[in-house]
Each structure stands twice: as structure tokens, then as C-alpha cells.
């Protein structure tokens, strides 16, 4: 097994990840290397699946987007989380054709945003926090007042 896959599997067994599961913040759906699928819980109880490409983990951040696990494809844009400014800024389908979330801990979105290191030091990928870092950022947004809900 490659070191990055080994590191991710160890991270998924860590206290931090399991604690988040036990608090119902997220739930592991599947790991099919290099893709990890995790459901993240929103304020209204809905769960949004994320599919993250974790190659190079943990030195390299994950990158990914909302996923429709039933048909194994990116979640249709009209079913993405909706809400106010914070949600619209982070979850915007027009960014990277919807293949990456616009958050500083996303590998693809970070490219070309060197200023984020000083602007959002807490949100830039921290390998020591592992995949939970990405999940915590998304979970916090889905729990915010700005989150409304996806279209029915």
C-alpha cells in the first residue's frame, strides 16, 4: 500500500475522525483509493456527501466536491447547499466547473491563492489535522446561519 493511502487509512481510524462521527458531524461512506466519500451533516439534519481525492495525503491537501452516491457522479448543482453569503462564496458551482469547493484547504482551489496563507491561516491545509480539517471547515459552513437548505 502506498504511503499516502496508508496515512489516510490511519487518519480515518484516529480519535479525531471517530469523534466527529460519534458527534454525528460526519460519517465515512467509502474509501476507494484515492477517493474518499464522507457524508457531512448540515444544520437541518441533511447529509451532504463529499468525494475527496486524497492522493498525496497528508502532505498534499484533498480536493473534491459534493457527490451523489446513488448515481456516483457530482451532485447536481440545483441540489448543492444553498444560503447566504458565506455559503455562496464557498460552494459555488461555477468555480472549477463544480469540481472543487472554494475553501483554502482544498488543493485545487488553493492554487493561485498564495494570499490565503496570511488571510485565512486557520483554513489553509494543515497536515497535522488530517482530513478532519477539510471536514470541519465544510461542517462549520453547513451549520452556519447562512446555510438555508438545498432545493427540494
Amino acid at each position: 500500500m502506498a504511503p499516502d493511502e496508508q496515512a489516510l487509512r490511519a487518519d480515518l481510524a484516529s480519535a479525531r475522525f471517530l469523534s466527529g462521527e460519534d458527534r454525528n458531524r460526519w460519517k465515512l461512506e467509502e474509501l476507494q483509493w484515492p477517493y474518499l466519500r464522507v457524508r457531512v451533516t448540515a444544520r437541518d439534519g441533511r447529509q451532504y456527501a463529499l468525494r475527496l481525492n486524497c492522493s498525496g495525503f497528508p502532505a498534499s491537501p484533498p480536493t473534491g466536491t459534493f457527490w451523489d452516491s446513488t448515481v456516483n457522479t457530482r451532485l447536481a448543482f440545483d441540489r448543492w447547499p444553498r444560503g447566504g453569503e458565506r455559503i455562496q462564496l464557498a460552494f459555488k458551482p461555477e468555480w472549477k466547473n463544480g469540481d472543487a469547493l472554494y475553501i483554502p484547504c482544498d488543493r485545487e482551489s488553493f492554487v493561485g491563492h498564495d494570499g490565503w496563507v496570511t488571510q485565512y491561516p486557520q483554513l489553509v491545509w494543515n497536515p497535522a489535522k488530517g482530513v478532519c480539517h477539510y471536514l470541519e471547515v465544510v461542517h462549520e459552513l453547513l451549520q452556519s446561519r447562512d446555510y438555508v437548505c438545498a432545493a427540494a
Partner: protein, 169 residues
């Protein structure tokens, strides 16, 4: 049957996990938790406190608990090992500072909610703010115990309540 116990401490930088038997005593639990600490840690003055979802009032009467099963909750048991019984918490916002003592096992999320209420915010506004350790850019996750952020003998921590980020540009 075993129960997951999540352990935080002033001596641990990250949360640790140990599993104990359902019928273990709190003494057993503490012994198992202590084994997670770095080798050579002086454990003689460490107290075990339990994260409590219901009430963080340090003066509140708590029912006598002797066994782990009595602590069992849907999301696992969460405990803290610290030399201080309480941590002095200061939260600064605008030109105001609010202050009170919390048990080390109190989460950053609960402190944020308390501070927000104390500062007159409504729940929606509170959710749009985060606690940042004063003088740093560190914004601990809501599940972090405040004891993790306060080493004995200072046993205090000061936060700034700051707006949650909007990712612009």
C-alpha cells in the same frame, strides 16, 4: 461491551481514544486515560473531569457516578485530565470582556455560546462568530476542551470573539 472514551489533556496536543469495558469504574477509566499521556508525565495531581452536555455550571450538583456505563451517551464519553479544577476564561468582544470559570472538560463551542449570550447576541449571531486565542490566529475547533489550551499553574485562557470567515478573493 466496550465504550469509546475520548481523552483530552493539558499534556496532549490532540484528542486520544481508549476503549473501556461497560462495567469499568471511573477509577479504571482514569487509569486507562492516564496511560495515553506521554511517558514520564507526572500524573499525581491530575484530575479527571467529564464533558457535560447539560450543564457547565461549576457549582451545580452532579449525581454521584461510579461506573462508566452511567456516563454513557450516544456520542461516546469525553473526559479531560488536568491539574486545575477550573480554568479561568476571558472572552473579549468589542470593548467588553466577559469572564467566568469553567471545568477543563468544557468545550470551546460551549464557551462560545455562553460568551455570546453573555454579550447579548442572539443564537444566529453567535453561530457566525468563533473564538480565537488572544494574540494568535489560532481558532480551536468547537470540540476542543478549554483545558487543552490552559496549562497549569496559569489555568486561564483569553479569547477574542471574532466573526467567522467569509472566503473572498
Amino acid at each position: 461491551m466496550t465504550i469509546r472514551v475520548y481523552v483530552q489533556s493539558e499534556y496532549l496536543s490532540v484528542v486520544k481514544l481508549v476503549e473501556v469495558d461497560d462495567d469499568a469504574t471511573l477509577h479504571d477509566l482514569k487509569r486507562a486515560a492516564l496511560e495515553l499521556l506521554p511517558a514520564g508525565t507526572d500524573v499525581s495531581e491530575l484530575s479527571l473531569s467529564v464533558e457535560d452536555d447539560q450543564d457547565d455550571d461549576e457549582e451545580a450538583d452532579r449525581p454521584e457516578v461510579t461506573h462508566v456505563r452511567d456516563l454513557k451517551k450516544g456520542h461516546g464519553i469525553r473526559v479531560h485530565l488536568h491539574r486545575c479544577k477550573h480554568v479561568e476564561v476571558y472572552v473579549r468582544f468589542a470593548n467588553e470582556t466577559v469572564h467566568r470559570k469553567f471545568r477543563p472538560a468544557t468545550t470551546v463551542g460551549r464557551v462560545r455560546n455562553w460568551a455570546g449570550r453573555k454579550l447579548g447576541m442572539d443564537p444566529g449571531d453567535i453561530a457566525e462568530h468563533v473564538l480565537q486565542v488572544a494574540g494568535t490566529t489560532e481558532q480551536p475547533d468547537v470540540d476542543v476542551h478549554i483545558g487543552t489550551l490552559a496549562r497549569c499553574p496559569q489555568c486561564s485562557v483569553t479569547f477574542d470573539l471574532v466573526p467567522a470567515h467569509r472566503i473572498n478573493g
